[in-house]
Amino acid sequence: MLHSILVTGLVNGAIYALLALGFSLVFGVARIVNIAYAGLYMLASYAVYLLLQVVGLPAPLAVALAVAAVVVLGLAVYRVVIEPVREHESAVLISTIALTLVFQELVLAAFGGHFLGNPVWVDGITSVLGVTVTHQQVLSLLVSAAALGLLWLLLTRTRLGVAIRATANDREVANLMGMNVRRVEMWSAALSAALAGLAGAVVAPLTVIDPLMWQGPLVNILAIVVVGGLGSLRGSLLAAFLIGYVEAATVFLLPGGSYLKGAVALTIMVAVLLLRPEGLFGVAFEEER
């Protein structure tokens, strides 16, 4: 039991971490709550399905193409939908919700509303600590971990990474220091779309996909970024694993736990907010109070 919780929590946590980091990145840099982000995740899963099952490409190529397509789409969304209305916070929120509904309906029209199974990329199972783990779970975990590692290097070791973190810290000062804030925003939008795409791609072979699959993760992402502190990347990473484990523990330990897993994650969120309103690692922004 304990081991199942450990393994499931780890795999879920890694995928949540990918999703939450991408979301935090855009919120931190551009102060935009982009709901369409969850739609990109759903589209990536369908793109992988299309390329693997219908076109018949090998798995690595399919994933790479799917992520690239999602990045292009994510940038287009940023330029065409978000930027023109970004002065109006609520308009951004609603535009991105509406856009996600557009994605959902387009996928529904193209693929139908039924659940679609994806083939696994690698077959076989191993036993770790007495828990049966499919090789696919291991592979998904490794891909997520590699992506997280690369992102960490990018953010800490490159000029772009420093610019992104500086812009997230203080937009005006970053601008005064000669950083092209708008370009940094575009880069973080692209990065975040890539993370959403990758998360969608590694989730696809683990579960069944359907046009409404964005709703569950969306709620979890929001809980994670709030628990971790909006815009804090380190906080999002830790909170992703926290929520991943709590969810796994609820499902395995409580009767009727699969109904309650969302509720428990969100109760944690409310509890954290009560004790520490800016999240575990959040900084209270002066002007936003």
Binding site: V85, H88, L93, E105, A109, G262, T267
Partner: protein, 347 residues
């Protein structure tokens, strides 16, 4: 006596209502809704208007907390669901009549609103929005975990309707809607509304001016709960089911979409949003090919409208029909050259 009252009413109508196109539209809207059954008694049309009225109360209650006090709620379905489930549970388990359970459910939703508002007092901006998103989902989880009480995923069905005939329910819904929306508009226009505006614009400054801001923020939540609960209770006793769909994220998002589409911090904006968008989606459902894609069309309409009028339809339309006097801030028809109140040049 009566003649004098009538004359005064007539003067008010001519002097205050007929001079502004927006007020004429409000009058036409109220009269049109009340007179509609004279022209058609088609149950489908009545159903669409009834649901639009209930959703209008719901969307306006969202505006009261989100537009006025600036606490953008993404979990407005909490109040709708609390009202629906509250009255359904009392009706189902205790056998109370709907006329009692709907007010009781609304009171319950008021309490729920206040309780949900307490943790939100510590939060601002995006954090607050995301926290409110959580509450209906937590309640849904709790209801699913108690299937004997709540009926689980199917909800409580077979509830007794409030009024047996559809026409009767039509009048109940429309009149409750008009009264509730007018009350909310009065609250928004009162001192309390002004304080809520102040809290939205700058809470620290409001507190520095001696306003007990937590009290007013909580009041906004409780009022949103009250009106959302009325809408939810009426809804449960109209469709005769109280199910988890009354707590869905999608319903909360609908409230936000209606509100922002119509125009926030106006109360009548969300009502306009509902009465434009809800019948539109229902109309689309009747057309064979479009019906399958109505959610897509709905989303595209919302996207396009926001792209070109990010302030919402109401503000956009009002700015085209009327002009505000620079000197006395009262509004006049856009065709006038001089302000109707103080005579200042409008050009």
């Amino acid at each position: 006596m009566i003649a004098r009252r009538l004359r005064r009413a007539g003067r008010f109508l001519r002097g205050e209502v007929l001079v502004l196109p927006s007020r004429v539209l409000v009058l036409l809207f109220c009269v049109g809704l009340l007179a509609l059954p004279l022209f058609t008694r088609d149950p489908y049309v009545l159903r669409v208007v009834i649901l639009s009225s209930l959703y209008a109360i719901f969307a306006a209650s969202w505006d009261l907390v989100s537009g006025y006090s600036g606490q953008v709620s993404l979990g407005q379905a909490l109040y709708f669901g609390a009202g629906a489930y509250g009255s359904a549970l009392l009706h189902h388990h205790l056998g109370w009549s709907p006329a009692l359970t709907i007010p009781a459910g609304a009171l319950l939703a008021t309490g729920v609103g206040a309780v949900a508002g307490i943790p939100c007092l510590r939060l601002r901006g995006s954090y607050l929005s995301l926290a409110t998103l959580a509450f209906p989902l937590i309640l849904t989880g709790a209801l699913f975990a108690l299937p004997e009480l709540s009926g689980g995923e199917l909800g409580l069905s077979g509830l007794q309707p409030l009024v047996r005939s559809r026409l009767g329910f039509y009048y109940v819904a429309v009149i409750v809607m008009l009264v509730a929306v007018f009350t909310m508009w009065l609250i928004g226009d009162s001192n309390t509304g002004l304080l809520l505006h102040a809290i939205r614009e700058d809470e620290v400054a409001a507190r520095a001016s001696g306003i007990d801001t937590p009290r007013y923020r909580l009041l906004a939540f409780a009022l949103a709960g009250l009106f959302g609960g009325v809408a939810g209770g009426l809804y449960a006793h109209f469709v005769r089911v109280a199910g988890p769909s009354t707590l869905e994220v999608a319903l909360s998002f609908q409230a936000v979409i209606w509100g922002v589409f119509g125009g926030v911090a106006t109360i009548y904006g969300p009502v306009v949003g509902v009465f434009l968008l809800y019948p539109l989606t229902e109309l689309l459902a009747l057309v064979p090919w479009l019906g399958e894609h109505r959610l897509l069309i709905f989303a595209l309409v919302v996207l396009l409208v926001l792209r070109f009028m990010p302030q919402g339809v109401v503000h956009w339309a009002r700015d085209r029909m009327e002009r505000e006097c620079l000197r006395c801030k009262s509004r006049s028809v856009a065709t006038r050259r001089a302000c109707r109140v103080c005579g200042a040049d409008l050009r």
